[in-house]
């Protein structure tokens, strides 16, 4: 089980933070960073491991947030049940978008544009439909009880989102070592070669989309429970699509810890910029843009990719170099 050790260590270290730090500002920062890490892990399953770059993960995040809120507010459903239902609803949206795009062979930037369009359609519908509260949005009643999935203490929320992030790390870890994950990565690397080896590429991508959507929807559910307010711009806004794809790309797409590392780095830099330059609107986006350019320039496989590359280069230097000519003589 020592393969799981990194996940256990990281989760334990992060879990200890509220014991040591009492600042609400720090906890709040970490809750938001972990929320983005969770949304990013969802994107990472489909984009990082599967190579299908979605620009519209807001569709899943927003569905999670809205369904959590609406089930409670309009239908009086218990918050925990609403949470589970919203995750399922996110997965269904993923299945629908996947079923409409993958069988027709949409790939690359076409896939990205179509997912963006789906998210935008949902945003526009949510901003006018009565059930979502249209332009006013939906407010979840304050009810600080565990059965309402609301807590007085920020630390409890923090541990909940940390637990969810830990589960998402575990999912990514298990994915890497499963047949489904091997096939998903094969589809990313070369779809035709994968098909020739018996991989049903459409089905694998669809499965990844559903899993990806469910994880990102979970982040949306948590958002609604934590902030107790959802409107179209928050839930289906492009901000979350961007952050969900930015964090894994910066941290290392197709790695277990990429989204978490990316979210912590990006959010910390965003906060630092705010502290340095005052709360100018759009400043965080400028920081994201700058970080993205730097990462793509210097570490195209993300921060984790850069570290593994460096380690490989170091070990290779210490080994005698292997001449390709040796391969010929072998029969």
């Amino acid at each position: 089980m020592n393969r799981l050790l990194p996940i256990v260590v990281v989760a334990a270290a992060l879990a200890a933070v509220p014991v040591v730090v009492e600042s609400n500002a720090v906890l709040n920062f970490l809750v938001v960073a972990l929320l983005i890490a969770l949304a990013g892990q969802g994107w990472n399953i489909l984009g990082g491991y599967g190579g299908q770059y979605s620009f519209g993960h807001a569709a899943f995040f927003g569905t999670g947030a809205y369904v959590t809120a609406i089930l409670q507010v309009r239908y009086g459903v218990n918050a925990w049940v609403a949470f589970a239902g919203a995750v399922a609803a996110g997965a269904v949206v993923g299945a629908v978008i996947g079923a409409l795009t993958f069988p027709s062979g949409l790939r690359g930037s076409y896939f990205a544009l179509v997912t963006l369009a789906f998210a935008e359609v949902l945003r526009i519908v949510a901003s006018v439909a009565p059930i979502t509260g249209a332009g006013v949005g939906t407010l979840i009643k304050l009810d600080l009880r565990a059965q309402a999935l609301q807590f007085q203490s920020r630390a409890v929320f923090y541990w909940i989102i940390l637990g969810l992030v830990a589960i998402s790390l575990l999912i990514a870890h298990l994915l890497e070592r499963s047949r489904f994950g091997v096939w998903l990565i094969a589809v990313r690397e070369n779809e035709d070669a994968a098909r020739a080896l018996g991989v049903d590429a459409t089905r694998v991508k669809l499965g990844a989309m559903v899993l990806s959507a469910a994880i990102t929807a979970t982040a949306g559910c948590f958002y609604a429970q934590y902030f107790l307010f959802v409107d179209a711009g928050i839930a289906y806004g492009t901000w979350i699509s961007i952050e969900a794809l930015l964090t894994p790309i910066i941290g290392g797409a197709g790695t277990v810890f990429g989204p978490l590392l990316g979210a912590l780095v990006v959010k910390a830099l965003g906060e630092a910029a705010k502290l340095a330059a005052g709360d100018a609107p759009g400043l965080d986006l400028i920081v994201y843009g700058a970080v993205l350019v730097l990462v793509i320039w210097f570490a195209p496989r993300g921060l984790i990719g850069a570290v593994t590359d460096m380690r490989m280069r170091l070990t290779r230097r210490s080994l005698p170099s292997r001449s390709p000519a040796r391969e010929v003589s072998r029969g």
Binding site: E189, L197, D200, R330
Partner: protein, 250 residues
């Protein structure tokens, strides 16, 4: 001759106005090595793409083990036991050699340990044993061809379609890989191979089909085909057979 494992019956494929494959028929007996030769642009790779499900034929039928498999998608044909290699090697470039083969091994082995063991065994079989942990994109051309072979073998095929696995290799590399192909056939796997390297295909295959401009123009044993004036003319130009005949005095 045994009941053919694969039979292609009057298959045609059009790309717009171009008839790339024109009513081509061929068959491959179970357990043998069948060659498919022909000049550049004859439609060999197109025919392979049709047999392996990557392209649908415009007309005609493909039978495999007596069943009609025309138009079935590649992944389902792979499950039935049809494996192919690509003329231009298509490695999963970002993965190690072992992980490349693992993708194929997983087809019939869902458990990771079993699939990894199978991948390692197949890797050694084709002579990639010492390169298993190397990234696939660091392999030489010869290494990539072996990897193509290994991945295809990993799905435990009954029929193996080899698309120019010898092309681009130097003579010593060819000498190394020919026995591997023989050994694969010796295990009871039926092989159909497209080849440009005449010498190799002639020594390996029992039966050869010649494709030119989308049509099968000749078939027979390697010796029969090599002596066929139509085949000679296809390769060397109109009238070449007659000239050769006078030179050698046959």
């Amino acid at each position: 001759m045994a009941e053919p494992l694969l039979s292609v019956e009057r298959v045609s494929r059009r790309f717009g106005g171009l008839l790339a494959v024109n009513a081509a028929s061929l068959s491959a007996p179970a357990g043998g090595i069948t060659g498919l030769i022909g000049p550049n642009g004859a439609g060999k790779t197109t025919l392979f793409a049709i047999i392996s499900g990557f392209l649908a034929p415009s007309e005609g039928m493909i039978r495999y083990g007596g069943e009609d498999i025309t138009g079935e998608p590649p992944h389902r044909l792979a499950r039935r036991g049809i494996a192919r290699t690509f003329q231009i090697a298509q490695p999963f470039a970002g993965l190690s050699v072992r992980d490349n083969i693992l993708v194929g091994a997983h087809l019939h082995l869902p458990a990771r340990d079993a699939a990894l063991a199978a991948a390692e065994r197949v890797g050694r079989e084709v002579g990639l044993g010492e390169m298993l942990d190397q990234p696939a994109n660091t392999l030489t051309v010869a290494g990539r061809k072996r990897l193509e072979l290994a991945r295809a073998l990993a799905i435990e095929p009954k029929l193996l379609l080899l698309d120019e696995v010898l092309a681009g290799l130097n003579p010593s590399e060819i000498r190394d890989i020919v026995p591997i192909i023989r050994a694969i056939c010796g295990r009871g796997i039926t092989i159909v191979m497209i080849e440009h390297v005449m010498q190799a295909v002639m020594s390996l295959s029992e039966h050869v089909f010649v494709l030119a401009e989308g049509r099968i123009i000749a078939e027979g044993s390697p010796a029969q085909v090599a002596a066929d004036p139509k085949v000679v003319e296809t390769y060397l130009g109109h009238g070449a057979a007659a000239k050769l005949g006078t030179v050698h005095g046959h």
